[in-house]
Symmetry: C2
């Protein structure tokens, strides 16, 4: 896609194009009047655009949207009710360029793309970096995909077909094929001449890769080093040999962690034989970091992707599945309660206090679980420190249990004045707190060892354990002691 993506920007600027200059000067800060202090589109602004669209005042809608950054136009679509997005798209069609599609939420984009024919989709994809084009095309069904690919230039098509041949969410899907690579024996001057002489090269890049004759990367060179080095020096003497290479089949989450750990701006992607096949830049990784880190909270709660633009049907399917699993689990704890129907019938107050014991365990277990899931996701929890963390959580759980048990015992005694009940209540809380701490570590670590995502499946095991143990310890102790009103 080198030819098309080149330098609209640069050409405009070098030519001092008037219109574009005026537009840019007006937006030195990104569209300040349309955005609130948190960079969100103001509701008034969204309403004004939609009103103009509804009244058929296409010019007014276009004038409003003109100063927006592509990311903000994408946001505008997400903030527009589903049934009005097509009208909006029709009204501002000429402002709806490839960059806007690249920034758009997957579901919103998919719905809009569905309305376009293969030719139009191919045009959009051709203007994007490989990774963005792939993001648009990979979600289409095979038939549509084939049609779009047929409508593309052979070069672009080859790039996308290659990307699609790598697993989903792998480095191969994330990388762009356009990059600047120079041979080891070149000087800085050779490199500068090459860059100035080749208009078809991509415009935005931050590092240059130095490769050997087999096209294997041997070093990386930040542009700032090149700028500060005399022309006669060899690239091999400017480049940094210590570099982080990304295998083309590496999972995107690992790619993101590697970028973060080593503070990378861009990195070379290599195939099985070590040849340079692409480049990943940090701006493509930033949203993955955000997404992967935010996913944990959604997975722990069984909310799936948690995408507010997801069709309701899919959302319900994901959430119901999780709720049914949990329903099954609560039946287990309910049957524990069932064992003690006799005690409860004799002393119904037990039924009022027992949910407190299980809720405490559930809350404490969720705390430990959240900490462990994060520590696993950020590679902080490894075999080296698992045992130490288990012991750490045990001590925390014991301290929590003693504190809460004491508060619970004193409080319940003051209110209900039943000493034995309060003692049983306190002991059950302590037991359940410790159980919560232990399962809160053991469950996610064991699932992780078994290559199951601990964020997805831990919660149901932990809360089932704390529910069962909460009811069992409290009602069991009450039965043993023969408590009654």
């Amino acid at each position: 896609m080198s030819e098309t993506e080149l330098p609209d920007l640069e050409r405009e600027q070098l030519a001092g194009d008037d219109e574009s200059g005026a537009k840019q000067a007006a937006t030195n800060q990104p569209a300040p009047n349309q955005l609130d202090e948190d960079d969100r589109l103001k509701p008034d602004f969204v309403d004004a655009v939609l009103e103009a669209v509804e009244e058929g005042d296409v010019d007014a809608a276009r004038a409003l949207v003109a100063p927006l950054h592509p990311a903000d136009i994408a946001d505008l679509f997400e903030l527009t009710p589903e049934d009005r997005r097509r009208d909006l798209a029709a009204a501002i069609a000429d402002q709806l360029d490839a960059d806007v599609f690249a920034e758009m939420n997957d579901y919103v984009r998919e719905a809009l793309i569905d309305a376009l024919d293969a030719r139009q989709v191919a045009d959009i994809a051709s203007e994007l970096d490989t990774d963005d084009a792939v993001a648009i095309i990979e979600d289409m069904d095979v038939e549509d995909q084939r049609e779009v690919l047929r409508a593309m230039e052979p070069d672009d098509r080859a790039a996308i077909e290659e990307a699609l041949s790598y697993p989903e969410e792998s480095a191969g899907r994330l990388m762009q094929r356009d990059l600047v690579a120079v041979p080891e024996h070149w000087t800085v001057g050779d490199t500068l001449d090459y860059l100035r002489g080749h208009d078809e090269l991509l415009t935005d890049f931050w590092e240059i890769f130095v490769v050997d004759p087999a096209h294997k990367p041997v070093g990386t060179c930040a542009l700032s080093w090149i700028l500060r080095t005399p022309r006669g020096i060899a690239m091999a003497d400017v480049m940094q040999r210590e570099q982080t290479l990304i295998p083309v089949d590496m999972d995107q989450e690992e790619v993101a962690l590697r970028f973060q750990k080593y503070a990378l701006i861009s990195a070379a992607v290599v195939d099985q034989s070590g040849r340079l096949v692409g480049m990943i830049t940090v701006d493509d990784v930033v949203h993955i970091i955000q997404q992967e880190a935010g996913e944990d909270v959604l997975r722990l709660s069984g909310a799936g992707e948690g995408d507010i633009n997801e069709p309701i049907r899919l959302t319900v399917r994901t959430r119901v599945a999780w709720l049914v699993v949990n329903l099954g689990a609560t039946i287990l704890s309910a049957s524990v309660v069932g064992l003690f129907q006799g005690e409860i019938a004799r002393f119904a107050l037990l039924a009022a206090l027992m949910p407190i014991v299980s809720a405490l365990g559930g809350n404490a277990g969720t705390q430990t679980l959240a900490v462990m899931v994060r520590a696993l996701a950020t590679n902080q929890l490894t075999s080296s420190n698992t045992l130490r963390m288990l012991f750490r959580e045990f001590r925390i759980a014991l301290a929590n249990g003693v504190a809460l048990g004491t508060v619970g015992a004193v409080g319940s005694y003051l209110v209900l004045g039943h000493l034995q009940l309060s003692i049983v209540f306190a002991i059950a809380m302590m037991i359940n707190s410790v159980v919560a701490g232990l399962v809160g570590v053991i469950v996610p670590v064991a699932l992780d060892k078994a290559n199951v995502d601990p964020a997805v499946s831990s919660a149901v095991f932990v809360t089932t354990a704390t529910d069962v143990m909460g009811f069992l310890s409290f009602l069991g102790l009450a039965a043993l002691w023969g408590l009654s009103g």
Copy 2:
């Protein structure tokens, strides 16, 4: 800090320093033998280092650590039990440079720094970018801070004192003062000559800022554009006027969202009068994105920072506070149960089924809550679409409620054979599912409007609502219908 941070790297490379060349060649991939496939230090490796330290074999320990990246040395300390970290530090003291401290977990670093005198800390801080130096110094108590600052060079001290004058977690703390800014009237050639002629400039930068005579940024120029433009062209014609400026007092979370939204590599930081005072680069932002996104899951569960290196005392304090609040809330739902002691004493099976109704509500509410908290944190949920999202969640909750109620009714009838009980059970589940969906949206949105972090405080309100409504609807309906075994 310009003088010290300069180009150890560059000088070594230009001089073709042998030793460094050998070391670098050996580590083309970052230390492959010490790391597992997820870039985590192998337990065997950690054990080997600690064993060498324990046996007093300093040379062996150093040889093992030598090939590691600073980020991995920092990890090594985090994986080492607390009581053995000082010995490790003493053994590999000469490998423990400023970069390692910059990469280290706050708590681990603080404990190590405490053992150093002010002179040593000042030396470390002098070698770092302003933002990293500030991160080390800002956590010290005022007395120690003053001492360290006194031991620093006046320039470095001024930079850090200025940074410390900005609020915590603001752009001012995050930025570095070192940057390359050139006047508008310069040509590309002027800029190149300036860069080559000034050795004291920082080595790693990705964009050059163009400023007017009042030192206000008027444009940004990626290095790749400069490299590809003839020397005679004016900077004003190469730069992009459309730029994202960061106010110096902006919260770091907003900074991170802005970097992400506009795919920035670096951005100019300006003071109240619009003057350029610093620069933030994406590598400083990446860990904030990760941290802020991951924080939600910890806050929702009441686990505070959730840092596994936090002293236990602090962890217990945070978690107990949350558990006590929740204990208070469960008393409310327990007293609802207390109202129906008569019904429960007559029909103890109610006590076994009622936790299922409240647990379903709790799970469903947590799902909605997790989605809403993420949507608020990523600026996807705004006044423009709140009502639409409330309606969306209502429809999801209704569908969930009908599905789960049906499963619950059929299941309980098959097991217990009590038709009326099963009908009450199903209706209560539907009611509670809808309640969960509504409070799951309303609570976080209301807290956000009141400028309270919805991740911190929402969960207790939502689960209290679903517990109370779960017990009330189930037991209330049972009482109304006069259910009995």
